[in-house]
Amino acid sequence: MNSEFQAHQIRDIIKINYKYTMGGQSKFFLELMNNKKILGAKCTKCGKVWMPPRINCSDCFVPADWSEVKQTGIIEVSTIVWFTTSAFIENIPYAIAYVKLDGADTALLQGIFSENLVPSKIKKGKRVNAVFQKEREGKMTDFFFVPEDEYLNWINKPEFEGGE
């Protein structure tokens, strides 16, 4: 008897909705959304400025205070993504980088937008400026970085603006 295997496949999806609290980090997102400020968190003991912020210093186990950092910084490492997840595939190519903001001791992952997206433009040591969405939701996607020589061009686009 011919018993060739035939697979049965079904379509299915797992989907969960959230109303997620940012907890102790809430102020970072509220200040970003309402005032275009980027807040780090400075340890009350060692003085390290954490970015992304954490309200407790993981090194000293004491509270950290909010401490605004500059909206300029330096690229530590970057890449350009040409193939990605289903959620981001419409955005390729896009660049991401770890950026050390002036006044922070750790580096933040952010998107780097450029009119000329090539590795040399966004390599280690390049200076970047933060550009904000005009419509902000209190999420990391409310801002991104651009090479400093492109800053004026970006903030003159209708959907974006510079920090205060």
Binding site: I80, V81, L109
Partner: protein
């Protein structure tokens, strides 16, 4: 702690897709294979003699099932015995071996099943009509959901950040040096019948493959795979009682989690977890981090990406920092080189069935020490000693290193 041996190895073929198996059916196959292998070595046991299971399963979204371990537990006839699941990203396999070791070393079990499985390619992206973007998305949820996932962070962009930072510091690995790792591991897989991606390729083929994440190209990356792998671990008393031939002793177990935020690390071009895990494992085995290359016969490394294998040469102590690129260029990690790395083909050659991968690597190293690796057997087993290595998670935060020795390796010390 009690001495612990690997007395059986069972590995299913690593394949793009098993349309004819679910994850629990694949896990059953590996369990059957591991029992057959143990019995070939004289154990004469069935699943009824196994006293506990440690499951390595990374991703609920792949399996379309939360707590998948309990459904495997039912399917492999292990009801009414303890079963513990480990999920540590790409390092799930290595961490699962560590926990199974602890189960036996502590005296909780005399015979423990260490079972890893993953089946990713049931994920399906309707937009492109392919599986991979949806597989990558289900992995990307392992990135920090607040700060990093929204930027489009995923496995390749995370690993490439560390490799690029290493390049900025040392000027290597170059794209050509990374390509040599890909050529080696795809080539080693030509002799491994269970591998998903055996390929005879050149550096040019790698350089000309399409860009994924600058400068990683398609052939620099492992492919996600479906497979199951299992080990049976036994106490020394049980090895003697069952008169098992060829036990492979686990003599070193090391693990560490480094900061999952790469931006928090002192040097972003370091997988610090590797360094800490290796030092702990080597010390436990009585070996020396600075001399390890001459103390072991082979290493099954976690080569998720070619450039990151080069970083592992340095972090695991084979060569000094900054020398990894030169070492692959000199042929050191080739199967007939100074220290064969990934003789099985590794992840690039075999595929990456996440929860199963580190158990496959450990099993492969054990088979090499037994002289049972088949066509990809390393010719020079002189120390009687090998390591397996697992890393994973956001920023490769998790790492585990396992040291194994055969009877000769043990008696030489």
């Amino acid at each position: 702690m009690r001495k612990v041996a690997i007395i059986g190895v069972g590995i299913t073929p690593f394949k793009t897709r098993y349309l004819d198996k679910t994850y629990f059916e694949l896990a059953y196959d590996a369990t059957k294979l591991v029992l057959e292998d143990a019995n070939k070595n004289g154990a004469e046991i069935t699943h009824k003699e196994l006293q506990s299971t440690v499951y390595g399963i990374y991703n609920e979204l792949f399996e379309r099932q939360f707590m998948p371990d309990i459904f495997i537990n039912s399917y492999i006839g292990m009801n009414n015995k303890p079963g513990t699941r480990i999920a540590s990203g790409g390092a799930t396999g290595g961490y699962t071996v560590r926990m199974a070791y602890s189960e036996v070393a502590s005296g909780l079990s005399d015979l423990c099943l260490c079972l890893g499985v993953e089946k990713c390619n049931d994920c399906y992206d309707e937009q492109t009509g392919t599986t991979t973007p949806e597989v990558l998305n289900s992995i990307a949820y392992s990135a920090d959901m607040t700060y990093e996932y929204p930027m489009g962070m995923m496995a390749a962009s995370s690993y490439v950040s560390m490799v690029n930072a290493h390049f900025e510091e040392f000027g290597n690995p170059t794209e050509e040096q990374m390509a040599l790792v890909s050529v080696k591991n795809h080539g080693n897989a030509m002799n491994n019948s269970k591998a998903q991606s055996p390929m005879k390729i050149t550096v040019e083929d790698v350089m000309n493959s399409r860009i994924i994440c600058y400068p990683f190209k398609l052939l620099d990356c492992c492919l996600y795979s479906e497979a199951s792998a299992a080990l049976i671990l036994a106490s020394e008393d049980k090895v003697n009682e069952l008169k098992v031939e060829n036990p492979i002793w686990i003599t070193g177990v090391g693990a560490a989690n480094t900061d999952c935020f790469i931006g928090n690390r002192e040097d972003m071009g370091r997988l610090y977890s590797n360094i800490h895990a290796a030092k702990v494992a080597y010390k436990m085995a009585g070996l020396d981090y600075d001399k390890i290359k001459s103390q072991i016969d082979l290493a099954e490394l976690h080569d998720a990406f070619s450039g990151q294998e080069v970083l592992s040469y340095e972090e695991l102590g084979f060569v000094s920092f900054g020398e990894g690129g030169n070492w692959i260029e000199s042929g050191g990690p080739l199967i007939d080189g100074e220290l064969p790395c990934c003789p099985s083909g590794g992840l690039i050659g075999c595929g990456h069935a996440v929860g199963a991968t580190g158990i496959m690597s450990t099993g492969e190293a054990a088979l090499q020490l037994r002289g049972n690796a088949g066509k990809h057997q390393v010719k020079t087993i002189e120390n009687g000693r090998a390591i397996s290595h697992s890393i994973g998670g956001p920023g490769a935060a998790y790492a585990a290193v396992i040291v194994m020795e055969n009877e000769e390796g043990i008696s030489e010390k």
